[in-house]
Amino acid sequence: MREKLLYDEYEEPQESSVESREGDERNVIIEQAQQRRGNLLSKIMTSEIVSNGLDLLPFAGGGKMLVESASGKTLSGTELTGRDRAIHAAIGAGSLVLDCVGVGEVNKGRIVAGKSIGWMEKIGTMLSSRGATRGAAIFEKTAEFMASHPEAVRIAEQYTERKLKDFAGDAEKYRASKRKKKSG
């Protein structure tokens, strides 16, 4: 009810009355809300994968790690838009599918570039085959959304590739130090 009242009373601001300080504050509000939505989308997509029992669990931290590490800028320093953040979140969650090829494959060539839309379709198909039609539809709609924004997808894939390689590199260093300790 409160929401309805707010709509009724709301009047769109006149452009001439918008000061630049207010504009900055509005941008901050928008960016924060977009970031929270990115995290929410990653959570929704990951939960669809996990709750429907897809066998992608060992790499389950990947999506969260990727979306939370998206600081609001691309690798080249460009600010992310809401659309970019949604695509980053989707690719982060979709990277769970990498478990199918194994984390060990991460450092061998390009594993993300040109593949993320396929991940969405693949997960959608897997969910659908398990009768999870609602979850499947989320991934299918996301694949369509991403396909209509190829440049944003390319940039997000580049970011994800870099982060996954850093992640795999750290994991390998950790394993090497454990081996060294054991043998020493």
Binding site: E3, Y10, E22, R36, G82, R83, R134, A137, H149
Partner: protein
């Protein structure tokens, strides 16, 4: 419980306040497939943003 119509109206208002049209239309496209608690979460996110922007 908020309806899809409420959600659509909220999206339109936010777009008029400078939000990302493509992103919010995407949320509108997946809204029907979300669990009720997920619908609530995204509605809450947008509504709180709308409230904050409307005050500026």
């Amino acid at each position: 419980m908020n309806t899809k119509e409420d959600f659509k109206k909220l999206v339109e208002r936010l777009i008029s306040l400078g939000e990302d049209k493509d992103e919010l239309e995407y949320w509108q496209n997946i809204y029907d497939y979300l669990q009720p608690e997920q619908q609530y979460e995204i509605y809450k996110n947008l509504f709180e943003e709308f409230e904050a922007l409307a005050k500026k």
